[in-house]
């Protein structure tokens, strides 16, 4: 014969236990979107020796970064963007005033994707480099 009081108490205790557990254990899911990817068809249509700074800015918009290359002769424009998800979990157990056991795992190797365009001093496109998170 089932006791209704026991069922209510168990439910209440279960909820209370989960609420307390939230402070020392948890599962997290995250998502990050930073800047927008330039249109892939516009990237694919870039032609070294044909395109110049004007056409690249017109088709791709403003870059994230503008810099000279390591020799100081050529110019590098970088478009970077990120669209990734991650997850993780943590568990911690206070053992005493001086010791605390914890485990923390996060699959959060967020790396932005990058498109780098290399221009000569006359702003003619001379190189297209792409970098994805798996590279």
């Amino acid at each position: 014969m089932n006791c209704p009081v026991s069922r209510h108490v168990l439910r209440a205790l279960g909820v209370a236990l989960l609420a307390l557990l939230g402070g020392c254990a948890g599962l997290e899911f995250g998502r990050a979107e930073i800047d927008l990817e330039p249109p892939p068809d516009q990237i694919a249509s870039l032609r070294t020796g044909v395109d110049d700074l004007s056409s690249c800015l017109s088709s791709l918009g403003a870059p994230t970064l503008v810099q000279t290359d390591e020799n100081g002769r050529d110019f590098i424009l970088t478009w970077s963007w990120l669209s990734q998800s991650d997850w993780g979990f943590f568990f911690s157990l206070p053992l005493s005033d001086a010791f605390n056991a914890s485990l923390n795992y996060a699959d959060s190797s967020w790396r932005p994707q990058r498109l780098r365009l290399v221009f000569d001093p006359a702003w003619n496109l001379k190189g297209v480099l792409t970098e994805s998170p798996r590279d």
Partner: protein, 131 residues
């Protein structure tokens, strides 16, 4: 029997309170860096304009990059929106950052040669994974 009935009534009242304690909590936050860029002001800058013209139209740049004898000025406005929700031991969080960005390129004489702009800051939104 009366005792059990009393306990059941008590637990029935307690359960919503405990559920409230465990109810989802959440937060939304928005941060912005610098003022949004004015598309009309950007459109007013054409190749051949001087650095003074650019300063009058857009104000002081966020960053100046030396490119040999030439240079480039960056104007940037970044909006970041974050949302998070917590359900007992499950946490969801999302962050989106979008920017208005305008690069003005000058030659060695300080004359505008090129300009590129993207105005995406208003596309930043609050998003949670799974929603």
């Amino acid at each position: 029997m009366r005792f059990l009935a009393s306990c059941a009534a008590c637990c029935g009242r307690l359960t919503p309170v405990l559920l409230l304690l465990a109810a989802p909590s959440c937060f939304l936050s928005e941060s912005a860096i610098d003022e949004s860029l004015d598309p009309v002001a950007i459109a007013s800058i054409q190749p051949g304009a001087s650095a003074a013209d650019v300063s009058r139209a857009l104000g002081a740049p966020t960053r100046v990059v030396e490119l040999g004898d030439a240079s480039a000025w960056l104007y940037e406005h970044v909006v970041e929106k974050q949302a998070a929700a917590f359900f007992l031991i499950l946490g969801l969080r999302g962050v989106e950052s979008q920017a208005d960005r305008c690069w003005v390129f000058f030659d060695e004489h300080g004359v505008v040669t090129h300009l590129g702009a993207s105005l995406n800051a208003d596309q930043a939104s609050y998003e949670l994974p799974g929603f």
